[in-house]
Every structure is written in structure tokens, then in C-alpha cells.
């Protein structure tokens, strides 16, 4: 539901103070509450100075041209990627989107603009957790396995390069990604050490989880902020709608613009549990799409019946209801681990949890000077102690901002400056 529901509720209920606050150096972030920092858009005043439009075109790659796509996904045809291009020769940066996000999500667009301005070509890649990737580009069709996803991503990157090689001149390669895309970048970089197709010069992990399993469970638990749980979502949502209507009535009109939203936000400041519930709903909505796509692609049996034919007119409501009531924990135990156990019977849940972590490639991360990290002290997806672990792991290669929540400050001028300097090799 993320694009429709969450963004609409968000933009309706919450606001972005446009008024300037005293700021310059040092780093200042307007939201001290990490949930607000994560959910709310950064007020324009703090935005990095980036161009409004950059030359970008989309193209498709077909990693599995022979694959028969189920009719229920009739609108799926190839993995869509985008290229932001310089006219002259330049280094190229691959960016991997976060959970459930596409090549053109707002965060991706901002990165494209910032990196284009700094003189790079950019190829943007949709997250392996997105339906478009699962259907067209995933070999296992079971996202979350960092090593397997890294192979798929590496394959997509090569196909993407083949697709654009006649249009641009490339002088070298870098890699980055945010959130899940951040941890995936680390695994792709390690794969690259062996295959050497790109031989990445610099790799930046932005707000990555330390352990995917831990972080996803933190996000999942935020749903408990809906009183009565997910089966009580309707009552919660009705309440939200009522408040919206009350706001509209009190203000005498309704408009979907920054000014109105700011006024509404000031009059009805959002509560902590509301923000947490929104984060939880947003995540669950993405994961529901992922789980359904993964299940259908493999013939069903998890949230859809096994061996049925779904067409372009099949009613999906029952599966939507089930998928929305399926946590990552359920996916992990009932679908994910059993699937990978088929090819490796010695695999246990504990082993798998360990594999979903930066700790599993710690020696590599310690030694690889090309890899840097940009994170936030108050990142809501990190468990206690994990920020300390990241600092210790990356040492001087880690930049930790004191505030910003989870990816809330990616478009902050200081963050963009750090990112650009990092790829130019002049961080610090």
C-alpha cells in the first residue's frame, strides 16, 4: 500500500515545516525524534542543492528471456532500470534501491541528481525485493538471501552495462545502495573481488542494517502500535480518516499542498505510536507484495494455493488479506528457509540468520579499504549496540550522523556532500 495509502495519509496528516530555522554548520537535523526523521520529508530548507532535472532514460533487461511469466503478472515484461548520463567520459555509479523501492523512487531520484551533478553516470537498480525484480531478474525468486541476491544484482549490472555501452563512455565503476540496498552493496562488492567484471573503485553503504533478520523484525514489530493488531487495522484507519475529516472541517477547506499540510500538521501534531504504526504498515505493505510475487512465481503453496492457474482477471483479495497478515518471521520460517534447505539440507534457521548479516563477511569488510559507510546514530532499524559495531568495523571509513533516523537525511546537504566527496576519494 506504500505508494497510495501511506504517502497519501502521510502527506495529508503530516507536514513539512517550510520556515527556515537557524542552521549552518555544524550538522543540524530538524527532527530529533528518529521516527519523525524517518517518516517526515526533510523540509526544503535543508535540501541539498541539486538540479531539478537530469538527463535520464529507462531501459529494460531480460536476465531470463526464456522464463514463462504467470498470466496474473501480465503487465510484467523485463526489469526496468534507468541510466542518468553525462555527455563526456565519466565514472559510473550503480545504486541499489532499498526494500520494495524501484529505480525511480524519490530517494533514488535524489541520488541520481546529486551524483550527476558531481560528474558521474548513474545506473539505478530496483530492489531485489520488488515484484518487478522477483518476476524478471531473480534466479531463486525468493528475495532476502544476500549472497543469492548479490549474484542476481551482479548479473543485472552486467546486462545493464551491455545495454548502455554504446551510449556512454565509462572511465571506472563505483557502487552504492541505501537500507537493504546498502547491505546488498557489500555482498555485491565481495562478489566483484572474485569476478572482477567491474572492479569497483569505491563502495558506499548507506544506512545498511547490520543484520537483516534483526532489522526486519524491528520494523515488523512497529505494527503492534495499531491497537488490537493488524486485524483491527480498519478501525485504526477509520479513526485516521475521521481526524482528516475533522481537520478539513475545522480549516474550512481541503487542498493537497505544502501550505495546507503544514497548517494541518501544526494543529494536529502526529503522535509517536501513529508514526511507528505508519512505518510498520509501509513496510508490511511492501513485504506483502514481495511475498505474494515470490510465492506465485514458484507455483504457490505459501499464501496462495499450490498449482492453480491465476489469470489477469483473478480476484487477489484473499491473498492480499493473507499476505498482509504474514510477518517476515512467518516468511522466513515457513517459506524462505525451507526453500533453501531443499538445496542444502544442513541449513538451519540459526545458520541462515547469521548469513543475513554484515558480520558474516566481517573479515572482508575490515580489509576492504574501498568500502565506506554512512549511517545515523538514531537509525530505527538498528538494534542496541549495532551502531557501535559499525563504527568499530569500519573505523575511519564510517561517517555516523547524530540524527536523521533511517534514511531520513539522505537528501541533507551534509549527507550529499559526504557522499560526493567519498566517491571523489576525499572524505574525512
Amino acid at each position: 500500500m506504500r505508494p497510495w495509502l501511506t504517502s497519501i495519509i502521510l502527506s495529508l496528516l503530516l507536514g513539512l515545516p517550510t520556515a527556515a530555522m537557524a542552521v549552518d554548520k555544524p550538522y543540524f537535523y530538524p527532527y530529533v525524534n528518529p521516527l519523525e526523521a524517518t517518516v517526515m520529508e526533510l523540509p526544503p530548507y535543508y535540501h541539498a542543492d541539486i538540479p531539478e532535472k537530469v538527463p535520464t532514460k529507462t531501459f529494460k533487461v531480460y536476465p531470463f528471456p526464456e522464463r514463462e511469466i504467470p498470466k496474473v503478472f501480465w503487465y510484467e515484461d523485463g526489469l526496468i532500470c534507468s541510466l542518468t548520463y553525462q555527455k563526456k567520459e565519466a565514472p559510473l555509479i550503480f545504486i541499489i534501491a532499498g526494500t520494495g523501492a524501484r529505480h525511480n523512487s524519490p530517494k533514488m531520484l535524489n541520488m541520481q541528481k546529486a551524483l550527476y551533478q558531481a560528474g558521474y553516470h548513474v545506473i539505478s537498480i530496483t530492489s531485489p525485493t520488488h515484484m518487478n525484480f522477483i518476476v524478471n531478474a531473480s534466479s531463486t525468486m525468493t528475495p532476502g538471501h544476500l549472497r543469492e541476491d548479490a549474484k542476481d544484482l551482479y548479473n543485472v549490472m552486467q546486462l545493464a552495462m551491455a545495454e548502455v555501452k554504446d551510449d556512454i563512455k565509462v572511465s571506472g565503476y563505483h557502487l552504492t545502495g541505501y537500507s537493504l540496498g546498502g547491505i546488498q552493496s557489500a555482498f555485491v562488492s565481495m562478489l566483484d573481488e572474485e569476478k572482477k567484471v567491474f572492479d569497483f573503485e569505491r563502495v558506499l553503504l548507506i544506512n545498511p542494517p547490520v543484520n537483516l533478520y534483526t532489522s526486519v523484525n524491528i520494523l515488523d514489530e512497529m505494527l503492534e502500535n495499531i491497537p488490537g493488531g493488524i486485524n483491527n487495522f480498519d478501525a485504526w484507519f477509520d479513526n485516521v480518516m475521521k481526524k482528516l475529516a475533522a481537520a478539513e472541517k475545522e480549516m474550512g477547506y481541503f487542498e493537497l499542498n505544502g501550505d495546507y499540510i503544514y497548517k494541518a500538521y501544526k494543529r494536529f501534531p502526529p503522535r509517536e505510536d501513529f508514526l511507528a504504526a505508519l512505518v510498520g504498515i509501509s513496510f508490511r505493505t511492501d513485504s506483502a507484495s514481495m511475498i505474494f510475487a515470490s510465492d506465485v512465481m514458484k507455483g504457490g503453496g505459501f499464501v496462495t494455493p499450490k498449482n492453480v492457474k491465476m489469470t489477469n482477471s483473478t480476484a487477489l483479495t484473499p491473498y492480499y488479506i493473507v499476505a498482509n497478515r504474514t510477518s517476515f518471521e512467518d516468511y522466513f520460517r515457513q517459506h524462505f528457509v525451507p526453500f533453501f534447505q531443499k538445496s542444502d539440507p544442513s541449513l538451519t534457521e540459526e545458520k541462515m540468520i547469521k548469513m543475513l548479516s554484515l558480520r558474516s563477511i566481517e573479515p572482508y569488510l575490515k580489509s576492504a579499504n574501498k568500502i565506506g559507510l554512512m549511517g545515523n546514530e538514531d537509525d530505527i532499524i538498528l538494534a542496541p549496540g549495532e551502531v557501535g559495531y559499525l563504527e568499530q568495523l569500519f573505523g575511519a571509513r564510517a561517517k555516523i550522523f547524530p540524527t536523521g533516523g533511517h534514511c531520513g537525511n539522505m537528501n541533507h546537504q551534509d549527507a550529499v556532500d559526504f557522499m560526493v566527496n567519498f566517491f571523489a576519494g576525499q572524505e574525512g
Binding site: 505508494p3 495509502l5 503487465y75 487542498e255 492457474k309 482477471s313 487477489l316
Partner: protein
């Protein structure tokens, strides 16, 4: 008139093809080797719970076909026209067209505010129309909003809702998009009232009306960022259906 007739014919053919292409069944086809899912609704949702997402949708097969038709219609016909329009027109001129179109349609806001006995809103709407038509040069500008007289959008679907009419079955209209029986009735009623007693009747010139209708349609599509299958979710139909229903409840409650 021949042009109008032709357009109506095209619409009819489009509608019929949707009906024929859509089929009826919305259940997945089971085979001899079909097995139930590990996770099922019956076990996850307490019995007797009515979920909002299960919007009354008895003609779902048709609706999904219509939704698909709209995707193609948008992709190969409507959006290219909108794109061409945006390419030809300077942004400034596009904004003037939007103001003009909104001003003409104040007619429906006026009648429906009046029908709901919302006298203050009716007054605001009338003042807006007068101000924007005169000071705003035939509605090309919208000085009223600037002066705090905000638009008071109401349609006949809302009027019906205001007097307690339920939403009825969900309907995805070809071209027009998500609706339901109540709002479709409203849409038709508003269109008829607009044609019979509104600006087209005042002008009384078929060509002008036709041109206006075309431009208004393009302008309105331009202003809606929604793209069919643009959400990247396999459940987009379910989400739109729920959101449309909820949004209309909110519109009616105000």
C-alpha cells in the same frame, strides 16, 4: 453531430469489447494437483470479521477487465495525447486552461452545494464564479482562492451520499476509472445537468462544447498523476478499490 456520433460509437465498441474480453470467473483455476496454501484467510482472520478491503464488488471480473482496458487506453491513446498537449503548450498557458476548466465546472459545485443545502458553500461557489469570470478574465485566472475563497467541490455522487445513499457495487468505468453505482449515477446526472442547464446550454454551440469537453478531459488527466500499474504492487486493484471507497466517504462526510 457526426463527430459526436462517431465518438459515441467508438466508446460503445470499447465498452463491449471490455465486457467480452473480461470473462466472468475471478477464481483461480484449480487442477488435479492443487493443494491448499499454508497460510489461509480463514485461519488468520477471526470468523465473522468484515474487512474494509473486501469492498462489495459483484462484477469484479468485468472491473478487472475494465481496469486493464484503461491501462492500455492510457498507454496508447490518452497519455500520448496529454504528452503532446504538454509539449505544445507552455506551462503558463496550461495553468490558464486549468483555471478556465475549473471555473466552467463550478456549475456542478454550485448545484450540488445547493442541493445539499450548504448555503455558505453555495455562496462561496457563486462568488468565485462571478469573481473569476470578471476579475479573473473569463476564468483564466483564479483570484478568488488568493482572497481566501476556496473551491468547494461537490458532485452529485456526494449529494446522493449526503442523503444516505450507500455506495453500491464497485465499478471500474472504462476511461473514467474507479467508481461505484452511486457515483456513476452522480457522474451521469452531473453531465446531463451540465449539458442541459449549464454552460453548454448557455453557449448552445456543439463545436464549442465538443472542443471544451476534449480539452477539459486532457487537462484533467494531466492533473492526475495516477498511472495504471504504476504502484509496483500486485495488489494495486485492491488498494485503489479500498482507497477510492474511503476517499469518497471522506468527501461525503465533510
Amino acid at each position: 453531430m457526426t463527430l459526436v456520433h462517431k465518438f459515441k460509437m467508438v466508446l460503445l465498441v470499447a465498452l463491449l469489447s471490455v465486457v467480452f474480453l473480461s470473462g466472468c470467473t475471478t477464481l483461480p483455476k484449480a487442477g488435479p494437483d492443487t493443494e491448499p496454501a499454508i497460510r489461509q484467510q480463514a485461519e488468520l482472520v477471526p470468523e465473522g470479521t468484515e474487512l474494509d478491503v473486501e469492498v462489495y464488488d459483484p462484477i469484479e471480473g468485468f472491473n478487472r477487465g475494465s481496469y486493464r482496458f484503461n491501462y492500455y487506453f492510457d498507454k496508447y491513446f490518452f497519455l500520448p495525447i496529454v504528452k503532446g498537449y504538454q509539449f505544445i503548450m507552455p506551462d503558463y498557458a496550461e495553468d490558464r486552461v486549468s483555471s478556465f476548466v475549473d471555473n466552467i465546472y463550478e456549475f456542478n459545485n454550485f448545484t450540488n452545494n445547493l442541493l445539499q443545502l450548504k448555503f455558505k458553500e453555495t455562496g462561496i461557489t457563486l462568488s468565485r464564479f462571478v469573481l473569476n469570470t470578471t476579475v479573473g478574465v473569463a476564468g483564466l485566472w483564479d483570484p478568488s482562492t488568493h482572497w481566501g475563497l476556496h473551491r468547494q467541490p461537490e458532485d452529485f455522487g456526494q449529494t446522493l451520499g449526503h442523503y444516505g445513499v450507500g455506495h453500491g457495487p464497485f465499478i471500474v468505468l472504462p476511461i473514467f476509472g474507479p467508481s461505484n453505482l452511486r457515483d456513476t449515477t452522480g457522474l451521469v446526472t452531473d453531465a446531463v445537468a451540465f449539458g442541459v442547464a449549464g454552460p453548454p446550454a448557455w453557449v448552445d454551440d456543439d463545436t464549442t462544447t465538443l472542443v471544451f469537453t476534449g480539452v477539459a478531459a486532457i487537462d484533467k488527466r494531466k492533473r492526475v498523476p495516477f498511472r495504471y500499474y504504476g504502484s509496483g504492487s500486485p495488489f494495486e486493484y485492491e488498494q485503489i478499490r479500498l482507497l477510492y471507497t474511503k476517499k469518497r466517504e471522506l468527501d461525503i462526510a465533510d
